[in-house]
């Protein structure tokens, strides 16, 4: 499209201003980080976000404050902002980056290059990031380059989405990015500085000051010419705001001039907030708010104002009544009625077509607004020279008139009944100022300093300190909904009467001052208050106050016994002031003026951020939890309190907390559902799911590990002790072995010694025996033959003893003995043969009972055992008793046994049992013997693993039972 046809052209100067528009400035002194402002954006909570060249500020409906951002100077520069489709607020930075505030804090994303981000446009396909010389698209936290201007010749200046296509304004015409194509679509070589979409067409603002409308496929139409560099175009409600480097042109939707604002200010952005306020950001002059609520002054001196039925007001000024109406965007007034010049109007009341006019000295004038006729109401000139303070008409159409110093009169127009109420018939005070009819038909009568009287069905009630009124100087009275009566006072703030009880609302409740000059019901729970310093909107439900100080008014105003009238469903009001009648008007009726909401900004634990949108699990030790909230209290000037509870099941809330930051520490391990809300506002509740994990000593794995470790320690100790026992045992065994070895060595030495002695003495002994034998025949005759015999005998004994000793030693020292299978019978027979001579000599009888015929044993040893047992049985026979010997062999368990019983001397086992088997132990001295035989048997059996047992009784004989192991030990 190359051809541009100007269809319509308006040129106007920027010298006029909108009537009644009071712009409120906000600059660095008010909390702006810098006076150079580049972007304005609403967030999902209704806050206004203001991006400057050195940081961000936000306006929450009451105050403007800087928002801390963790960025260095380059990224502190906000060049543009937008709210994406997920209601996340994004900021474009001057050095090419973009950032957003997430649940984990601020997140910075690198742009496609380091040039200024001029526009962020959120779409379902991602967010377009338009730099001054490039286009990118943000997806998954990274920006992908879509187009880059070659040599930076093309400078982008604004961008919009239109019909799902990206249109970009540049210093060289209008461009479009669509389907991966970037093409110029209009205005070649034209410096386009601003784009907007209005009424299905693209609105194109030029550096030259012209504004075009372009519907695709059609020729562009010139809409206006401003002669100023266009910076921004926005349509808000019924107006179009065209921002330029020299102010804002306000136009109607038909592009007709509606005035200008902010002349000579360099406008960078325009925004309407949720409350209907219009914001203008400027380059170097901060931001300006065009409040949705406008105050203007009518230069009319008046203390009497009442609402008119037709959304206007009647204002009495001296002897005139004026009609004030909102027309052509301003308040206009006309004179409705003029009374004689000397008349001074003191009060008004509108009743259907009649306007009832109270005067200071001329009674009540009744003006018919239809017929325009005036009639006079007086009762026998009672009202002449009296000042009418107030007039009300009750639900029964009865007039009630308070008359200065004369009490109250009532008049029923239908019955023409007239009644007077003064101190003579029940009224406590005659100077009644204000009258108010309540829902029950009661007439409230206020005084200045004497409290209140209330007349219901002819009965007076009086209210003073005793009844709960906190101030008797009543300055105003109004009836609210639900049978409420609210009274303003000069020192007690507001007294609320409901259900026969007075409640006071004072400075301590947030009321700006206790000196309230008047009060008037607006609608619902809202009331207007006037104070010496300004005005205030009061919400009786949540005790919130919104104040309007001099900043809101066109000029400095004093409110002297301010009369207040409200009309237009509460969207307008009129106030009498010393500078005239102050008119209030809420421009956008659909706006929300009492938005209250709460948002969670961040959750930190030990200074580490956590995503509050997800379940948070914290270690037991991480206990310094900080929850930062954001309170939106649009229209609330009183402090907003928070309350919270830790568990879903909690029925009581903890609070109020008058700060946006909640700190928790010392929470025990548990699952929490922390719920935070604005006090008594369930719909503002926000929840955070939090688990404080068990301390490690309470965890199952720690318990298991502990048990395991304990068992391991016990096991290790046990093993250690066992090891030490084994070590002790080993040491003991070594010692025993050592000692045994020592003993064995000693024993061997002794045996060797014994053997040596025995062996060495054997030959001399036998020599001695043989020598004695040689001498023996010669000595038979010798006188010392007896001695010689004794010598022979002794020598023989010595020799026998030595032989026995040698046998014993031999038996104990033999090793590697030959174990063989032996026949008991043969062994016994051999032994019998050996001692045959002795048996026969003593007539001994031997019986043999062979039950076990064989055994394994070393033959010489078994022969020695049997021989010694038989020999002993013969030796130790009883005198005069022939020995009877029974030999028996048998098997018993692991042993083959041989028993030898005799009927000899027997033994005293108790006395001699223990030494029976000792060497050289001889228990019967009268019998020859060496005392070695039984010791020899014992030694043999001990070595072979056998035993020998003795059963004996003195004089009855003895039985030896020898047990031979069936598997004798091999030595």
């Amino acid at each position: 499209m190359n051809k541009v046809i100007a269809i319509c052209c308006f040129i106007f100067s920027a010298t006029t201003t909108l009537v009644g528009q009071q712009l409120l400035p906000y600059n660095t002194a008010d909390g702006l980080p810098q006076s150079f402002v580049y972007s304005l954006e609403n967030d999902s909570l209704g806050k206004v976000w203001i991006g400057t060249g050195n940081g961000i500020a936000n306006y929450n409906g009451n105050v403007l404050q800087e928002t801390a951002i963790p960025y260095e100077p380059g990224n502190r520069f906000i060049s543009t902002s937008t709210l994406d489709l997920n209601n996340n607020l994004w900021f474009g930075h001057y050095i090419g980056n973009l950032s957003t505030r997430t649940s984990l804090g601020w997140k910075l994303v690198k742009g496609v290059n380091s040039t200024k981000v001029i526009s962020l446009l959120s779409t379902f396909e991602g967010m377009y990031v338009v730099h001054q010389n490039a286009i990118g698209r943000l997806k998954n936290d990274s920006v992908k380059l879509l187009f880059q201007s070659k040599n930076n010749e093309l400078q982008f200046q604004d961008a919009i989405m239109f019909n799902s296509q990206l249109f970009i304004a540049s210093n060289n015409g209008l461009w479009r990015y669509f389907n991966h194509n970037f093409e110029q679509v209009a205005f070649p070589n034209v410096n386009i500085t601003s784009l907007s979409v209005l009424n299905d067409q693209i609105i194109i603002g030029l550096a030259s000051g012209k504004v075009y409308g372009w519907k695709m496929e059609e020729e562009a139409k010139l809409l206006i010419t401003t002669n100023e560099y266009i910076t921004v175009i926005k349509q808000i409600s019924n107006n179009i705001y065209v921002g330029t480097k020299s102010g804002v042109f306000v136009l109607t939707n038909e592009w007709k001039s509606n005035g200008t604002v902010l002349k000579n200010k360099y406008i960078t952005d325009v925004l309407e907030d949720v409350a209907g306020n219009i914001w203008f950001s400027t380059y170097g002059d901060g931001v300006f708010k065009l409040p949705n609520e406008q105050f203007s002054i009518l230069p009319i001196t008046s203390d009497v104002i009442i609402p008119n039925n037709a959304k206007g007001y009647f204002i009495a000024s001296n002897n005139q009544v004026l009609s004030v109406k909102w027309q052509s965007n301003k308040w206009n007034y006309t004179v409705l009625v003029t009374l004689p010049k000397a008349y001074e109007i003191t009060c008004l009341y509108r009743s259907n077509d009649e306007l009832i006019i109270g005067t200071k000295k001329n009674g009540i004038q009744i003006f018919n607004v239809i017929s325009k006729k005036i009639t006079v109401f007086d009762y026998n000139n009672f009202l002449v020279d009296k000042s009418i303070h107030d007039i009300v008409i009750d639900n029964n159409h009865v007039w009630w008139v308070s008359v200065s110093l004369s009490g109250v009169l009532s008049y029923n127009p239908e019955t023409e009944d007239l009644n007077f109420y003064d101190t003579s018939n029940g009224l406590t005070h005659n100077d009644i100022y204000h009258l108010q009819v309540d829902d029950d038909g009661g007439i409230w009568m206020t005084t200045k300093g004497s409290g209140i009287a209330k007349l219901t069905n002819g009965v007076f009630e009086y209210f003073s300190f005793n009844e709960g009124l906190n101030d008797l100087d009543i300055t105003g009275i109004t009836a609210g909904k639900n049978d409420k009566i609210l009274l303003s006072s000069s020192g007690g703030g507001i007294n609320l009467f409901q259900n026969n009880v007075f409640y006071s609302v004072t400075y301590s409740d947030g009321l700006p001052t206790n000196f309230v000059q008047n009060i008037t019901h607006i609608n619902s729970d809202m009331y207007w208050l006037s104070t010496p310093s300004g005005l205030c909107q009061f919400n009786v439900n949540n005790l919130s106050f919104k104040t309007f100080d001099q900043k809101y008014f066109p000029e400095n105003i004093a409110f002297n016994e301010c009369n207040i009238a409200v009309n237009d469903s509460g969207n307008s009001a009129a106030f009498s002031t010393t500078k005239g009648v102050l008119m209030y008007r809420l421009n956008n009726h659909s706006s929300q003026l009492n938005l209250l909401d709460l948002a969670i900004v961040s959750v930190e634990a030990n200074k580490k951020p956590y995503d509050y949108k997800k379940h948070i699990a914290l270690p037991f030790k991480r206990q310094d939890i900080v929850i930062i909230t954001d309170i939106v209290s649009y229209g609330q000037t009183s402090p907003v309190a928070l309350e919270y509870k830790l568990y879903e099941s909690d029925t009581t809330w903890i609070g109020p907390v008058y700060q946006g930051q909640l700190n928790f520490s010392g929470l025990r391990d548990d699952n929490y559902q922390i719920t935070i809300r604005i006090e008594n506002k369930p719909d503002t509740a926000k929840k955070i799911s939090l688990t404080i994990l068990k301390p490690f000593w309470k965890t199952w794995w720690f318990i298991i590990i502990s048990v395991f470790v304990a068992l391991s320690i016990i096991y290790v100790v046990f093993r250690l002790r066992l090891y030490r026992l084994k070590q002790y045992n080993k040491e003991l065994e070594e010692k025993v072995a050592d000692r045994t070895q020592q003993l064995s060595n000693r024993n061997k030495q002794l045996e060797q010694f014994t053997y040596t002695i025995s062996h060495d003495l054997k030959n001399p002994a036998i020599n001695l025996v043989e020598l004695i034998k040689i001498l023996s025949p010669n000595m038979q005759e010798h006188s010392d033959a007896a001695i010689f015999n004794m010598l022979e005998k002794t020598a023989g004994n010595m020799y026998s003893t030595l032989i026995e000793l040698l046998n014993v030693l031999k038996a104990t020292q033999e090793k590697g003995l030959n174990i063989e299978k032996l026949n008991f019978e043969e062994i016994i027979e051999d032994a019998q043969i050996s001692i045959k001579h002795s048996i026969e000599k003593c007539n001994g009888v031997i019986s043999v009972d062979i039950q076990q015929s064989t055994t394994l044993f070393h033959k010489p040893h078994l022969q020695s055992i049997v021989y010694n047992l038989l020999s002993n049985a013969i030796k130790y026979q009883r005198s005069g008793v022939d020995p009877i010997i029974n030999i028996k062999t048998f098997s018993e368990g692991a042993y083959n046994c041989i028993s030898v019983s005799d009927n000899g001397l027997g033994l005293d086992m108790e006395k001699d049992g223990e030494k029976l088997f000792g060497m050289f132990q001889r228990l019967h001295d009268h019998v020859e013997g060496t005392g070695v035989g039984l010791h020899l048997i014992h030694s043999i059996l001990e070595q072979a693993g056998g035993t020998i047992a003795v059963e004996s009784k003195v004089g009855s004989g003895t039985t030896f039972i020898v047990k031979l192991p069936k598997n004798p030990i091999k030595i």
Binding site: S114, T115, N152, Y283
Partner: protein
């Protein structure tokens, strides 16, 4: 170490220029005008590349708007050089850049206008021809938000870049800059300064006049190599500093380059050199100057010398010789 240099440099910038005007060329330089010839001009006129970049430093503490003004931006009329048929037929484009890369991009600091030397965010631009409306008067770019410059930590301030580019034609544009805090009057920005890496300027015309340029040598410089173009051998150029008392530099002929190397000692670090260009003829002459350090990095020329105009410090040894003279003062 770098951070200490930055701090020292920042302090110097603030301490020595609290109330000085940011006029370029500054009164201390005694240079008549900055010079940019159009691209069709012969280089014998003294401009080697038809582009001149200047950088303006605005301290971080500056809150109000700043303006960059150009004196006599048109190319025609009173101060400019006409070539060819005696009719001004040229255009000069002035561009103001800020934002990321305006200074930090290496191409921005290159003495040659190549690569991405127009780095940063274009804040304003204007093309001037021989329109008399802008002759012998100031043209104002701005207002600019100080933070629209590129934040440079070593200056603790924001840097704006102004590029003057000779477009079509063959004439020469003589102009001046002023960094102002006021739109209508030349009110200096407190703590502001200006610098360039390659200086093309018009020398004062009278014989014996002395022009000064003030390169700043930092801690890392051990030697400099001065390069001058088209001086036409019409005088002398000397280097002064706290340690140099008029070192001669090599002089360039008509349409030619000449260079010479000069050692830098520790006493000169963090201070400016005073390069004095002393004319020996009464004639119009434009020339170009730049200095490299030993790494072939361009050294900046500040309009107002950092640390003040350097004065040579005489090193005085006192020796006593009673036999011949009571006192002999020997200077080095």
């Amino acid at each position: 170490m770098k951070s200490i240099q930055y701090i020292i440099l920042s302090l110097l910038l603030v301490l020595f220029h609290q109330v000085k005007a940011q006029q370029v060329p500054s009164p201390e330089e005694n240079i008549a005008f900055l010079t940019t010839f159009s691209s069709g001009a012969d280089k014998q006129w003294g401009d080697d590349d038809y582009v001149q970049s200047f950088f303006f430093v605005v301290p971080k503490s500056t809150f109000g708007a700043v303006f960059i003004k150009v004196f006599d931006p048109n190319i025609g009329g009173k101060h400019d050089v006409v070539n060819g048929d005696g009719v001004f037929n040229s255009k000069t484009k002035f561009m103001v850049y800020g934002g990321g890369g305006a200074f930090s991009d290496p191409d921005a600091r290159n003495i040659e206008p190549i690569g991405n030397y127009k780095s940063g965010t274009l804040l304003a631009s204007e093309i001037f021809d021989n329109n008399d409306y802008f002759d012998d008067t100031w043209y104002t770019f701005g207002p600019f938000n100080p933070t629209e410059g590129e934040f440079v930590p070593q200056f603790d301030g924001y840097v704006f870049k102004v590029i003057a580019q000779g477009l079509e034609g063959d004439d020469g544009n003589h102009y001046k800059y002023f960094l102002s805090s006021d739109k209508s009057t030349n009110r200096p920005v407190v703590g502001g300064n200006a610098f360039t890496f390659e200086y093309t300027f018009k020398l004062p015309e009278s014989r014996g006049s002395v022009a000064h340029i003030y390169p700043l040598v930092d801690e890392n410089v051990i030697a400099i190599k001065q390069n001058n173009f088209d001086f036409d051998l019409e005088g002398v150029i000397k280097v002064y500093s706290v340690a140099k008392n008029g070192h001669n530099v090599m002089l360039s002929p008509n349409q030619g380059w000449e260079n010479s190397e000069h050692r830098i000692i520790a006493a000169e670090h963090g201070k400016s050199l005073d390069i004095q260009i002393i004319k020996s003829k009464d004639r119009v002459n434009d020339m170009t100057f730049y200095i490299f350090n030993q790494y072939n990095e361009a050294v900046p020329f500040f309009a107002v010398p950092i640390g003040g105009v350097p004065k040579y410090k005489y090193n005085v040894d006192v020796q006593y010789n009673y036999s011949r003279h009571p006192t002999t003062i020997k200077t080095k």
